[in-house]
């Protein structure tokens, strides 16, 4: 029973993290139809900004809640700023280009941003464990877990609900959905398609940075952490179906479960768990579980 509850808690907390990382990626893909490799860089920028914000607020003597709020605010601001710059200066000029070129462009952006974080914050690992340590531990099923990790599950659910609510119950969200379906008709109906695209990209970048800032207290923030994140986030998004928010939730749940099960029962294949799930799902449903059907044009 101990193992079972440990698997469940690990799965849910890992799934929560996966969803946080992947939601921005899938949102941007849904609206802009491009896979943003630079999302991994937004994540690491967010993590670094988070580390610094937490460090600064700790030295100011602020409480844990205030530390986290500062980190989130700083990270989302940084993410929005970089996202706005990237979209306005680079991606805007690439809409309608062949897919490989756009992919190369986001890859190049990733390289530049990754290097910039190294230049600004140096090559060594940084730590910001204060909020996670000060929140203490909680016992579930006879095992101790950091309260911070459990709280992340709630944060992730809040983000999921907020994104879903914005997309489905607000005016702006409906405009975004309309652009996803057909940007030309939306433009004819008087929606500023360009603004919607810019806005979505900025929000997606901010979500990536927030995910980084929330992860920062759990890990050693070091250069090169963005690459693995982008591959894992892609796996999550692909399992659920590219561009679908419920899909990202489903993908995160499946991959989180697979990772937790293998970590506890078959530790030697844990590294491959993510890829095995992705390969398995893609073999059955090449576009992911919740992807809408696409018309084949001859």
């Amino acid at each position: 029973l101990g193992t079972f509850s440990a698997i469940i808690v690990d799965a849910v907390s890992f799934a929560a993290w996966l969803f946080l990382v992947a939601v921005g990626l899938t949102l941007v893909f849904g609206v802009l139809r491009l896979l943003n490799i630079a999302h991994g860089a937004f994540y690491s920028v967010g993590a670094y900004v988070g580390v610094y914000a937490i460090g600064a607020s700790v030295s100011l003597g602020w409480g844990t809640a205030l530390q986290l709020v500062t980190a989130l605010a700083a990270a989302s601001l940084a993410g929005m700023l970089i996202g706005l710059l990237v979209e306005r200066c680079v991606l805007k000029r690439l809409y309608g280009y062949p897919e490989p070129l756009v992919l190369i462009a986001t890859y190049a952006l990733f390289l530049v941003l990754d290097d910039l974080t190294k230049m600004v914050w140096g090559g060594q690992s940084l730590y910001a464990t204060q909020p996670r340590d000060s929140l203490g531990q909680i016992g579930i099923g006879g095992l101790q877990y950091p309260v911070y990790d459990i709280a992340l599950i709630a944060v992730s659910l809040i983000v999921a609900v907020a994104v879903w609510y914005t997309l489905n119950r607000t005016r702006i969200g409906r405009c975004v959905t309309a652009v996803v379906f057909d940007s030309e008709i939306s433009a004819a109906m008087g929606i500023y398609v360009g603004r919607i695209k810019t806005g979505t990209f900025v929000v997606g970048a901010a979500l990536g940075a927030v995910a980084g800032a929330l992860t920062a207290p759990k890990i050693a923030v070091s250069p090169g952490m963005g690459v693995e994140v982008i591959v894992v986030a892609f796996a999550v998004v692909v399992v659920g179906g590219l561009g679908s928010i419920p899909g990202a939730l489903l993908g995160a749940a499946i991959i989180g479960l697979a990772r937790a099960v293998t970590a506890h029962l078959f530790p030697e294949i844990e590294v491959f768990a993510v890829y095995l799930v992705m390969a398995g799902v893609l073999a059955v449903r090449p576009l992911g579980l919740l992807a809408p059907a696409e018309v084949r044009r001859i």
Binding site: L35, L111, V271, P286
Partner: protein, 332 residues
């Protein structure tokens, strides 16, 4: 084609190889080394170009580079094979085998799915390679001196021989790729990028074409990795890292996809850049590299060879005009 015409690509390749061979003993050491490294990068990049012609961007060619390099190192270390031709052929064959198997799974994917799956496969390989004792962990393996059909050069001679060997291996593989791309089946690679469904209606299997392109790219990257191992006389797990595949993408992006020679231009520029940039800005290499990539995508998406083709057309146009206007000129 009703008459057998001279294929200028093949002629140009052979001329380049002959020129390089003749000047090899005159040029300084570092140019020879640069040429050797550029030849290995160029070979792998030709593979990336073949895939890109099919509309597929592979972030995982580092995997085959790794397989090629380690095939050489392992054969040299454990089997004591020192013949350069043998190790390169086995390396290319080994990489081809891996590509053939992986290709069966990957041939069904397009676009970002293909790109990210190839990236995932090479990352898994990198993870395994850094842990396995057989592969020397993250330190890698050293490679001994090579012989060429019994000829065992030592000292400066060995470097000369290595350069000439690399150049001719590059030429041979480039010609083979050119002949493949020129063949009817090879032309289908381009057609797949244009419209898959039409290719299917014409009675060809798109899956087979993509598989063949992936196989060719794997063999080329394997041969390139073998040459890279031979020129540095050392291989490490970095070969399978995603930045290696990024180098090849950069090369193809920079040089364009007009012919199998093009990647050689890009590879040479890349290696020059790398050696200068690492001296000028040692810590900002990645930004320089990414910044250049962005600049090319934004301002010259067709690549450098497009400029050469445009210049060539312009010269021919001017030439043709002056030839046509000659009679008028004589009249007046």
């Amino acid at each position: 084609m009703n008459a057998r015409r001279i294929d200028w690509t093949i002629v140009a390749l052979i001329i380049i190889a002959l020129l390089a061979t003749m000047t090899a003993s005159v040029v300084p050491n570092w140019i020879r080394y640069l040429g050797q490294v550029a030849a290995s990068t160029a070979l792998a990049s030709v593979g990336v170009m073949v895939l890109l012609r099919a509309g597929l961007l592979s972030f995982g060619q580092g995997l085959f580079y790794f397989v090629g390099g380690y095939a050489v190192a392992l054969m040299n270390r454990y089997a004591g094979v020192t013949d350069a031709f043998a190790v390169v052929l086995v390396a290319a064959f080994g990489a081809g085998l891996v590509a053939a198997v992986l290709g069966i799974c990957l041939a069904g994917y397009r676009g970002i799915f293909f790109s990210m799956l190839t990236l995932a496969v090479s990352m898994v390989m990198f993870g395994i390679a850094t842990k396995l004792r057989l592969f020397g962990g993250s330190d890698g393996l050293n490679i001994g001196l090579m012989s060429y059909f019994g000829y065992r050069p030592r000292g400066p001679q060995a470097q000369w021989a290595g350069f000439v060997f690399s150049i001719w291996i590059w030429t041979a593989f480039a010609i083979a790729t050119h002949i493949f791309l020129r063949s009817r089946f090879g032309r289908l690679v381009q057609a797949v990028a244009d419209n898959e469904i039409r290719v299917e209606y014409l009675g060809y299997s798109v899956r087979k074409v993509v598989w063949a392109a992936y196989l060719a790219a794997g063999v080329l990257a394997g041969a390139g990795g073998a040459l890279a191992g031979l020129s540095a006389r050392h291989v490490d797990a970095q070969f399978a890292y995603w930045t290696t595949a990024g180098d090849f993408i950069f090369v193809v992006l920079l040089s364009g996809q007009a012919s199998v020679i093009s990647p050689a231009i890009g590879a040479f520029v890349l290696e020059m850049l790398r050696s200068y940039a690492s001296a000028l800005f040692p810590d900002q290499w990645q930004s320089v590299f990414g910044g250049m990539m962005l600049a090319i995508v934004l301002f010259l998406p067709a690549g450098l060879d497009r400029l050469i083709i445009l210049a060539w057309r312009m010269i021919r146009k001017v030439h043709a005009r002056s030839a046509n206007s000659l009679p008028q000129g004589t009249l007046s």
